[in-house]
Each structure stands twice: as structure tokens, then as C-alpha cells.
């Protein structure tokens, strides 16, 4: 089927089986490999993307479901080669170690901050609870998100 959606601000059209995972279409057809697969069953959050502003595990979404939606992946966070404030905070505060969870973590944090620009540490913990990280112990990730409160 033909699926049309907005990806990182630009319109895209793909000819695909509507039942394919959004994750695979992003990675294989559109070659945006910043979205990672960690478990394939919605537990780890490495494949998190934003669909109409909501954080969603793209391994659990059929591409047919994003028809006419706005999809944002990690590749869409930096604008004009400039890191977003959140990305900068992640770098400066050591919130990324091996980096594999970072794309999903950034998107979850991004959605959280848009919904609640002044979250408490506990709010951040709740907001990021669907994204697993095995390197950092989360401390520096939480600090980085708190540093971006407005």
C-alpha cells in the first residue's frame, strides 16, 4: 500500500506492506538507522519515535498506522547541524555512554519537556520509565533533562 506521512518535517511517501513495522520501514526503506531495535516487543524503548508528539515504540506500530501522521526520529532533533538544547545537555553531562539508548531517550525526554516544561526529578523518572539504559544508572540522564527545564 501507499503510506504518506511527515517525517522530521518533510513529507514522505512509501510503497510498502502496511503491516510492516514502522521501525523496519524507517531503518531499511528510509535508511534512518538512528532508531534502534533493542527487544522488538516494546520493553526497552530503544526504538522510540514521536508520532503526533506522543512517544511510541516503533517496533509495535504497523507503518499503515502512521498515514497522515507527523513522525519525528532522532535525526529530526538537530536543526541545521545544530544540536538541540537537550542533545547538548546530554553531551555536556555525560548522559550518553554507549549511545544505543540515546535516540529513544532523547525523544522520550523531548516529549516530556514539551508536555511539562518544568518537571521535577520524579516527573522525569516517570517520563523516562519506558526507556532502558544499562550504562548510566540514569543519574546523568535525569540531570540532563532537568537542566533543560524552562
Amino acid at each position: 500500500m501507499t503510506v504518506r506521512f511527515t517525517l522530521n518535517g518533510s513529507p514522505v511517501t512509501v510503497e510498502v506492506l502496511g503491516s510492516r513495522r514502522l521501525l523496519d520501514v524507517l531503518r531499511e526503506d528510509l535508511r534512518l538507522t538512528g532508531t534502534k531495535e533493542g527487544c522488538g516487543e516494546g520493553e526497552c524503548g530503544a526504538c522510540s519515535v514521536l508520532i503526533d508528539g506522543q512517544v511510541v515504540n516503533s517496533c509495535l506500530v504497523a507503518v499503515g498506522q502512521v498515514e497522515r501522521c507527523e513522525v519525528v526520529t532522532v535525526e529530526g532533533l538537530a536543526t541545521g547541524g545544530e544540536l538541540s538544547p537537550l542533545q547538548r545537555a546530554f553531551v555536556e553531562r555525560g548522559a550518553a555512554q554507549c549511545g544505543i539508548c540515546t535516540p529513544g531517550m532523547l525523544l522520550a525526554a523531548h516529549a516530556l519537556l514539551r508536555e511539562n516544561p518544568r518537571p521535577s526529578a520524579d516527573d522525569v523518572r516517570v517520563g523516562l520509565a519506558g526507556n532502558l539504559c544499562r550504562c548510566t544508572g540514569y543519574t546523568k540522564i535525569i540531570e540532563a533533562v532537568l537542566a533543560c527545564r524552562t
Binding site: K36, G38, E41, Q87, L132
Partner: protein, 700 residues
Amino acid sequence: MTGRARYTDDLIVPGAWYGRTIRSTIARGAIRAITFDPAFDWSRVVVVTAEDIPGENVVQLIRDDQPALAEREVRHQEEPILLLAAPDRATLDEAARAVHIDYAPAAAVLALESATDTYTTIEIIKGDVDAALPGAEAVVERTFRVGLQEQLYIEPQGAIAFPHTGLGPGDRGPGVTVIGSLQCPYYVHRALKRCLGLPDAQVVVIQAETGGGFGGKEEYPSLVAIHAALLARKAGRPVRLIYDRHEDLTATTKRHPGVITHRTGVRRDGTLLAQDIEIVLDGGAYCTLTPVVLSRAAIHAAGPYGCPNVRIRARAVATNTPPNGAFRGFGAPQSLFAAELMVEHVAERLGVPSLDLRRKWMLGVGDTTATGQKLTESVSADLVLAAALKAAPPVRPSALPPVRRGRGVSLVFHGSGFTGSGEKKLAGTIAVECVREGEFRILTASTEIGQGTNTIFCQIAADTLGVALEQVTLAPQDTSLVPDSGPTVASRTAMIVGGLIHDAARELRDRLGARQRPPLRVEKTYVQPDTIHWDDQIYRGDAYPVYAWACTIADVEVDTDTGEVRVTDLVTAVDCGRAIHPVMAEGQIEGGSLQAVGWATIEEIKMRDGRYLNDRLATYLIPTTLDAPRIRTILIENPYSRGPFGAKGIGELPMDGPAPAVIAAIHDATGAWIDEVPATPEKVLEALHGKRETRNGMRK
């Protein structure tokens, strides 16, 4: 950060086929027959069995017991038997369903207690335990159990193999290049050479961006790389072999489970007279790195304490469970868990605070360890203990029932670098080059797996050369470019390899100062200082060049109705000599601590017929942001004279302390001892229940 970093599965390889490993579905038995369903068109796929192995059918490591593909018998569930490659996943699935393996099952040994075969035994003797114990005024005996743990790097194992056609640019004959997610390029290089029967130059191993390792990508990637290479050579095209989480959980190595028994003799005033310790670790079905894991477990078993009479008897046994292997801490978390809880039990018997015993027993400069190593510098048990106590938050008031709060403390040390003569045998090599004026390059096989290797290496070189950080780059981790610096393991990277970079950069600086012109290259190979003496035969001497130290304070809340344990706060004071990059050093401590909290509380692997039951992320749980305590790290710097700028190892240390501190905190909260990790809700309730029965319904 921007999504541009390329991990193995992110690499786009035109024309590559997909690979799959067909594995044993029994724990032990003979392979009677492999049949291929004639209804499937086998010309559409490539099939590899043990017969297709051009070299030796063995995974090169310590002992030659593990085949790359099982031939006649299988020794554990999920053992690789056959490989498939196909142009697309659907064909691969179809082919996998059309392979049938017929077994003659045999009786499997599935518990450490019933094992009869031993991989290795170690005995460490100091003084005379048998003579000292009768003179003790109290002898306390306890047995501790530690469970399996999965490393759970978020990026699963994977490799892509490219057969050399002999025609392409840079192709040196009929070899193979493997790009993969790995910690130790030269381990993989050696394994590939042997199994494929190829000379050095025809095998190239390149590390892709690697999404976490924690030891799990120390030895296992050799197997993944061999499989991918065998498929690629037979297919005559690149093959990608990427595990999904399920396969990764069921098939790859775990932390060694074990049973550790202590018998400790003391005087009434708390004087430590004798420690008699027995360690049994389960190595699983093949040897892998088990003897070295056992070695580190044994050497750390007495804890960071000075005792005149010590006997440590350690053995690793063989079972028919999937092989256990390297995991951050490498045996030390297991034995230190027992050692630290033993301090608590002795303190309870004597009716004194356990902190008093720690202060009385802890090692200082001039004291000797269980192996008879006299500690001469950078000994920080007292410093980390004082710093952690000072930084600990005030004890919180009691919670309302059914929640109880408690606090526990632990004191640990961790040897930096390879054990004993390991570094001497490895003779790790690096090079630092001045490529052209003001441009420097480090060549090392030490890998970045998220722990900050690249940054600290560049920082060490830049600081030594007196140049800006941006002027130093790292050569890619490609065995055709970089020398063998040894594996990225054993908390050795900053201290040993960083030390070599420091030395090479110093020489390069001097040569540039003496007006030598680039290009210049300085190569350095590790030479064991002649003050370090170690005897492998009797396990006596300087087990490690130096030790790092940590004191951890854990605060917990225990729900006595559900048995759930929540670690609310964790304070760790750490001496790593010198923190080259403090933010990254803290990151290591925080991440390692949470991994240890997971091991202590929720990370449990259950087995049936030798198969792991928690084979998905929905059933094997690791801590989320909601489970993670507030972690506070205090870095103490007590420099080591031979480390770069004073640095010692840091990577594994944080795995050692939290588990015993959490268990001690559960006891403080509830009065119940759980001499076991993980302390799952079932075990907590069982411990509380037992207590209620023995004390007539009275809970403490």
C-alpha cells in the same frame, strides 16, 4: 546523539544475506540425524554444518573444548548446530522450519550441587587456619548463594562478514573481514584464524560502534563472528548475523552463579583470627573464561581485610547449562558479596556494629592480603569508608507499615588489570604517532563500548604532549591497522593501556622537543615492573599491581506485605587513583552500581531443563528509572605511582559493593537475613515468614 553513529545492524551492505543459527533444543545428548525437508528448495539458501569448517572446529579461548558448531553431541540448550543464510528474512524463516534435528537425549547435569566434573581448582593458603580456629572465641559459619545475571547490553550481539574475493582493493587473498559489536578485536581475530584456517593477514576484524558490553562482548563475539564468516565464505557474499533479544538472552553467556561458604574465627574483642572459605562456581557446559573468573573470585574472597590465617578453596564445575562467561567484576562481585555479609554475621554474633569490625580489620599500607601481597601504596579502605559515611543522607524516620526502612554498608576492593602474571603474558602494545605537525594519532585495539575509552585516551595523550584535545585522534579499531593492546576487560584499559599511551606520548614529546620531524611513531609494549612478583603455581604474591577501593551505603524500603525491595538511595565513595575524566568516572560508578542493584533485587533467571525461562525483556527485568535509586558518587583520589596521572581501574569496582549493602539494609529494615542474590520478593517473604515462625509471630 544525532542518530548518525553506525552500530553493526545500522550498516547498509548491498547484496548481503541474512544469517541464522539453528540451536540445540535439549540440554545434553547425541545428534542422531539432521534432516532437510525435501519440500523446501534448498538451492535458495546456504547451509553450513561442522563439516564446512575449513580449520579446527573450536572456539579459541582457554581450553579447546567448545566447538563452533556441534558435530555429534550437544552439551547445553541452545548450542549452535547448523547455520543458514538467505537473501531475505521470510526465506530464512521458511528454511529454519524445514530443518529437523533428531537427538538421543542423555541425562543432563543441571545444578552445581550435582556436578562431578571440575574445570579448575585454586587453593590460597596464608598462615594456618586449622591451627588458628580452635583458639577462636567465636566461630561463625554461613553459606551464601549468588545467581545468574545477564549483561543486557541494549544492543544485542551481531556481526557482518565479508568474504575476500581476492579481487577487491585491499583484498589479500581468500580471507574474510568481520565487522561486529565487540570488546576485544584480537580475541575474535585469533578465533577466526584458527577456525577458518587462515593466516594473520587474511583475517580482518573491525569493531563497529558497540552498544554496551559489560563482559558480554568479551568472548561471545568470537562465536558470532565465526558463524557469520562461515556463512559468508560459503555464500560468496556478505552475511549479516544479528541476534534478536530472545536469542541473545537464551544463548549468550551469563554471570557465573555460585555457592560460597565462610567459616570465620574471631576473639571476643573482634580480632580476626581465621577465614576459611570455600567457593564453587558453575561454569556451564564449556570452559570459556571460567578459570580466570574463578581466579579473581578466589583472590577477592577474603574481602579488603587483613587476616593472619586464610584458606580459600575454590573450584569451578561443569554442568549442562549454557556456558557462563565474562561479566563486569569477573567473579569478584560473587566472592565479595559473601565476604561482606560475613562481616555482618560476625558483628551480629559479637553484638557489635559491623562498622567497628570493618575499621578493625581493613587493610592499610604495609598489611598483607590473602595471597601474601604486601600493600605499599594507594590503599584507601579508611578514606572511602570515612567519605561515604560523611556523605550519607540522614537516616530517614521509620515508614508506616507495611513498609520498613533500613540501611546497609559494604567495603570492597578490586584489583586493577589482569591477575598475576596476566599482563606480562599479554604484553599489550600501542602506538602514538605524530602524523604531521600538530596532528597526533593513537593506535590501540582497546575498544570504546560506552565507558569513555576514546575520550580518556585522547585526554591522556593531549595532556602529556601539551596539545589541545582536538589535535589527537584515534585510529579505527581495525586489526589490520592497530596493534594488539590486549582485551578491553579487567579494569585494565585506563591504567595499563592508558599508561602505555602516557609513556609513548612522553617519548614523542621529547623527540619533537629534540627537533625530530614528523611523521614519527612511538610504540610501547607493557613490561611488568620488576617489583611485582607472582607465583601462578601456589597463588602467592602480588595478585594485582594495585587495588581500587569503594564503600557503599544503601538505603532500602521493604514492603513486608509484598516482599518488594526498593533501593532509595545509594552513596558510593570510590578511590580510583585519579579520575582522568570525572564525569565519565562518575558515569561508570553510577551505571555499575545500578547493574549491581539489579543483580541484588530483581534480575533473576529461572531454568527448566537447562533452558532459561526468562528469555524476553518482558520477563528478564532490569532496573528502569523508577527502580533506580538516587545515586551519589564521591571520588577520592589516592594516586598510584605507576598509573597515568595516578589512575587505577574503575570499570568493575562499582559492581562489587551494592549487593551486600542492599542485603544488609534489608536485614536492618526487617531483621531477616537473605544470604542470597537476587533478593526477590519470594525470598524476602520466605525470610520474613521463617522469622515469624521462630519468634512466635513477633516481627522485629
